[in-house]
Amino acid sequence: MTVVKAVTCPVCGCLCDDIELTVRNGRIIKVKNGCAMCEAKFLSHASDHRPTKSMIRREGKLVEVSLEEAVRKAAEILVDASYPVLYGWSSTSCEATKVGIELCEEIGGVIDNTAVVCHGPSILAVQQVGIPSCTLGQVRHRADLIIYWGCDPWSAHPRHIERYTAFSEGRFEKSAWRTYINKVKALVGSKKIESAIRRLAIKSWEPAVARVEKSPSQYLSREGRKLIVVDVRRTKTAEMADYFIQVEPGKDYELFKAMRALIRDQEIEVDRVAGVPVEYLEDVVDVMVSCDFGAIFFGLGLTMGSAKLKNIEEAIRLTRDLNMRTKFIIMPMRGHFNVAGANIVSTWETGYPFAVDFSLGYPRYNPGETSVVDILLRKESDAALVIASDPVSNFPHKASEHLVQKPLIVIDAHMNVTASMADVFIPAAMVGIEAEGTAYRMDHVPIPLKKVVDPPEGVFSDEEILRLILSEVRKIKKERMEAG
C-alpha cells in the first residue's frame, strides 16, 4: 500500500493540488483532502462498469473490436466527411488538444471545445473589453472583499472558497471561517427561539423578514474578509455569505449598470433595480469602493441567461470603474479542469480560443457560424469526433439530435450518454489518474497532472489514441492519392 501525495485533482477549474491518494494493488482505495466530486472521480477509475475494449456499431448494436479496427474505422469516417466536427477537449490534457488541432487541420473540420456552452460568452466579452485579473494566489493572500456573482462554488467548485478566497488563510488577510461558524451558531440559536415561540402559539409572531430586505450595512461593517453573493436563488454559497443580493432572473445587466452609476456618484431615480432596493445597493457599493483588494468571480448565471456576453462586458466594465477608486479584479469560474487549457492551446496553435473552422484550409473563427451548437442546429456537419465530453447530456435536444444521426466517434474513459450512441467508441485512460499531462487552472496557471496508477490493459491515453487516428488518416489519404 502506498500513499501518493500532492496529486492534482482532474475535476473542476480549481485544480486542487493537495490531494492524497492511497493505492493498493494498482487501485486507488482512499482519497484524502478532496471534495465529493474529486473522490467520486478518483474512485471511478476502478469501476466495474468501465469499458476497456473498443467498440463499433453493427446492426444497431455496439460490438467489441480491436483497437486497430476502431482506429481504422474512425479515420475512414473522418476522411470521408466533408465537414466533421471535433468537440470536447476540456477534460483532457493540453498535449491531447494539440494533437486534436493537428488532426482537425488534416481533415479540414471544425474544432470546438466545451467553453462554447460555458464561458464562451465570457471569452467574447474579454475580446471586446479586456479583463483585469490576477492569479488565485494573489486573491488568497490579499483580497478582503470577495463577490461571487451568478455562481455557486459550494456546488460546482467545492473547495474554491476554502483554498483561494474567504476561508483561506492568506499572508495578509485572515480566514473568515470563524466568523462563519459564529454566524451559523447564532442562526441555529435564533431558529430555536423562533420554533419555541411558535410552539407557544403566539399567533401574532412574524418571522424575520427575508434577508434581502435587511440593510447590508449591519452585515458588512465588521473587520476582515467579507463575502457577498449575488444570485437568483439563495444557494448554499449564499448562505455562507455576509450579504446576499437576490437578483430577479435575467436582470443582472441592470444591476451592473446601477452599480456603475452609483460608483460614479450618480443618482438613481427608482426605488428598486432588479428587485433590490437602491439604498441597499448604495451600501454595497460603498463597501466595494472602500475595500483594499476586491475580487469578483462570476459563473454561468451570467453567461447562460438571455443577455449572455453583454452581462460579462458590463461586469468587466464595473471592475474597470472600481479600479479608478481601489484595486479590483474579475475572474470567470471555469468548470472543467482543463477548459482554460483547451482555450489556451487553441489560441496559441490557431489564433482563436474555440469554434475554429479549418474547412478552407486555414483557421477561421466566427462564433454563431463556426460554433458547434449552431453547426448542429443548421444540420451542416456530416460526422463528429467527441473526446472527453458528453454533449448529449448537455446540449439542447435539437443540437444532439443531429449529432447522433451522423457518424459519431467517441473517445472517453467511461460509457457516458454520448458514448452509448456512438458508431465508434474507443476507451481512454483517465488523464491525471492513469496518464500524465498539463492542465490550466481557471487563473491560467499551468499545473502538471500525475499518473498515479496504470490504465487497464490495452487502454491508451487520449493523446496516444489521437496520434494513432492522425497517422491512420494520413495513411488513408496517401493510399487514396496513390490510387488516384
Partner: protein, 135 residues
C-alpha cells in the same frame, strides 16, 4: 369542472453537488439519473399546484416537455423559479437559440408546470430511445 392547475414559472438549469458527483460515478448510475431528473420548486409554488414533495410533474416549454420529480427546494424562497440540474431531461426543455454567439440559452426560460402523478419518469435509456431512436 376538474381542471388541472398549471403554473407559469421561469426555468433555471445549473450544477448541484449531487449531479457533479453523480456524473463521476457514471452517467448510467442511479445516483446520476435521480439527481438530474429532479425539479427543485419553491414550497409556495408546490402549494399552488396542490402537490407534495416527490410528486411527478410535467414541465413544458416552447421546445418540449418532460416528466420529472418535484422536490421541495431547500434554497427557498424563490417563487416562480424552478431549478433542474444539467442533464438529458432538462435538455428537452432548454432554448437552443444561440443569438449568433454559439451559446444556447440555458437559464431563464419561460416554462409551465402541471402535476402528473400518473405519468412515469422515463429512465435514461427510455428517454434516449424516445428522443433519438438510435439503435
Amino acid at each position: 369542472m376538474d381542471k388541472k392547475p398549471k403554473l407559469k414559472v421561469t426555468l433555471v438549469t445549473g450544477r448541484t453537488i449531487e449531479q457533479g458527483a453523480g456524473k463521476e460515478y457514471g452517467k448510467f448510475s442511479r445516483k446520476y439519473g435521480e439527481s438530474v431528473s429532479t425539479c427543485y420548486m419553491d414550497p409556495e409554488d408546490m402549494k399552488k399546484l396542490a402537490i407534495r414533495d416527490r410528486t411527478n410533474i410535467l414541465v413544458s416549454t416552447k421546445y418540449g416537455s418532460v416528466v420529472v420529480k418535484a422536490a421541495k427546494s431547500s434554497r427557498a424562497p424563490h417563487p416562480g423559479i424552478i431549478y433542474i440540474p444539467y442533464g438529458p431531461w432538462v435538455n428537452v426543455l432548454v432554448d437552443p437559440e444561440t443569438n449568433s454567439i454559439g451559446m444556447p440559452t440555458l437559464k431563464g426560460i419561460p416554462a409551465e408546470v402541471e402535476p402528473a402523478p400518473d405519468k412515469p419518469i422515463l429512465s435514461l435509456e427510455e428517454l434516449l430511445k424516445q428522443q433519438f431512436r438510435k439503435d
